[in-house]
Subunit: 369 residues, 2 copies
């Protein structure tokens, strides 16, 4: 029997609470579906800083490189706001992404039928929404050099400073994430819309040309369009269902995927997968995490919605272990509890529902399985 | 009597059509309010390229520097898609912004009562929305050096290229646009929310620190908050009315202001002002333009909505000439025609209205004046 190795990094804030529910789900699949997982757990973010003085210990990084998949909760919190840039909780996450070379970040924005009225957008605009944002995750302005803050005395800035970051993309970086987007599109609506600012940035021109090249040479069967990122933001608000797969860079992807997530009205529902190149065993390097953050305001109150983290594990079943049937089961169970009217605090809209705590929600999902 | 000098640059697509209506409005103020304007007209964008082989002639640039205010229609169109980067219509606009040093771009996102149902967002989320985005317009990744595309042979990119742009902000650049935002906030709700990605970009850290500095030293009476730009995009979708003035950089401002514009559901309604330092006569260098683009798909059909361009002229009256009374008059006249149910094609929602052409809309606004 195959044993799948998992590293769980609950992180900060509500991370440990939602991850506890994922643990239950993992247990369920072991007991009821004959799967075998080898689960270890470690620290990331503020929790790692508290223990090791840095947001990701080298031993943890080594473990992450060795396992089949990493499951991450959330990082960050007000306690760490004053830390130096290099020690901030976020750096732990960014180090994982960069050193594991997780270049393709998959962020589905899906509107669950039972929750359509929960969006700030009109039901008829978002009902049935199902788009997938593929965001480049290991390059661009997040990692480009030179970067930093230094003294600067140019005219108009006497005695001042200058802050610099570098947006930098190579053909190879663009092509590999484009391939991910085209592959995924083939399994969905077969359409990719690529977004950049080729009208003002040369890196955007290169982005557009390389995406077009991959399309023309390798995926001519997929419908490809290009859009300026500002227009993309508009179109997401105006009529998000026009999209199937959206392909974009690290920074635009950060902003646009959050806007897209909020369209669904239920951030507590949205999972993500970050995938790299195949390892020796054929599985991609992979990290799965909910789109929501550490939510310090509700930490420790049993109010957190564990569904985003549980659906991230469903993505893990699908993308890391090719267990599509099990992933479907888990996703169906989530739909079931929603249809049954069960609601964590974040999902309590005017139309009511049965309020449940974090762990009750986990239990009900197990029951639905 | 003071004569105000204006340079009109209608540009491409629907630019000339909507600007023709502004011309009528200018005439009305001359005939009925005793104002005197010295109006000249010239080319920008594709129209300038067609005549001069570049998107802004040096003589036009010189004229723009000499007048009290520039009114611009729109630039761009599919005809110019294949042009080299340096010749694209957008470069004409970017040159105006840069050489006139128009560092503060004011983009109000206002939801007109008569049009609230037109938004893709629920009425209760957007009714009464009135936010102002102040976007830095002359620096950041739009203009930073080094930039460009070159050959690159680093491992994984053999035979490939690399595209580079530089995000660069000085203390002085951040402080001056922050001052604009605080000044404007004092005349409105007295709140500024500044947006960046200080969690991943050093230029964002500098941005946050300098904005805080200007606040603490010069505008302690204004309420200041900071938000990461991705969360900003979410919050704009979730609950836009939480904001008063949003202050952000050139690139985030481009994306976020377009998202904010679309919240109102009526892009054809939204004006903008781009302001620089005071000239010898005390007036700021200034350029006014609608937020919408050149809309090649409806060009020449009398379908364009002239209101965004007319309201841009209202901003000109207010910010360049301190003619607040006249600006109010013009804005009221626009509200009047909307309340009367007059609708250009872009404003025809399910609830109907009286369809009017571009020039009929202009005439009705004159009548309402
Ligand atoms: C926490 C932060 C560093 C991160 C990012 O900016 O990528 C987050 O916003 C995300 O989108 O995963
Ligand atoms: C036309 C383009 C260069 C411009 C920009 O990116 O600034 C436009 O999108 C805007 O927002 O005014």
């Amino acid at each position: 029997m195959t044993t799948y190795s998992l590293l769980i990094l609950p992180g900060d804030g509500i991370g440990p609470e939602v991850m506890a529910e994922v643990r239950k789900v993992i247990g369920w699949f072991e007991n009821n579906r004959g799967l075998s997982f080898d689960v270890s757990e470690d620290l990331v973010g503020g929790a790692a800083y508290d223990k090791h003085g840095k947001p990701l210990a080298d031993e943890t990084m080594a473990k992450a490189q060795a396992v089949d998949a990493v499951l991450l909760g959330a990082v960050g919190g007000p306690k760490y706001d004053e830390l130096d840039f290099s020690l901030k909780p976020e750096r732990g996450l960014l180090r994982l992404r960069k050193e594991m070379d997780l270049f393709a970040n998959l962020r589905p924005a899906q509107c669950f039928d039972a929750l359509a009225d929960f969006s700030s957008l009109k039901r008829e605009v978002v009902a049935g929404l199902d788009i997938l944002i593929v965001r480049e995750l290991t390059s661009g302005v997040y990692f480009g050099e030179p970067r930093g803050i230094s003294a600067d005395d140019t005219p108009g800035n006497e005695g001042g400073r200058v802050g610099v970051n570098t947006q930098r993309y190579t053909s190879g970086e663009i092509r590999r994430v484009a391939r991910s987007a085209f592959e995924l599109a083939r399994k969905r609506g077969n359409r990719v819309c690529s977004m950049e600012k080729a009208n003002v940035m040369e890196s955007g021109i290169l982005w557009r040309e390389e995406v077009q090249w991959v399309h023309d040479n390798e995926y001519p069967d997929v419908a490809l369009s290009h859009m300026y990122a500002d227009n993309g933001a508009m179109q997401l608000v105006r009529n998000p269902r026009q999209f199937d797969v959206i392909l974009t860079d690290n920074l635009f992807g950060d902003v646009l995927s959050d806007a897209a997530a909020m369209l669904t009205g239920s951030l507590g529902m949205l999972p993500s997968a970050s995938l790299g190149a195949p390892m020796a065993n054929g599985r991609p390097k992979a990290l799965y995490e909910p789109v929501h953050g550490s939510a310090p305001d509700i930490t420790g109150q049993g109010k957190a919605n564990p569904i985003a983290c549980i659906l991230s594990f469903a993505m893990c079943l699908r993308y890391s272990f090719d267990l599509g049937v099990e992933a479907d089961m888990l996703e169906k169970a989530v739909e079931q509890v929603l249809a049954d009217g069960l609601r964590t605090a974040d999902l309590m809209g005017p139309e009511g529902g049965t309020p449940v705590s974090t762990s009750e929600m986990g239990d009900r999902i197990l029951a639905a399985l």
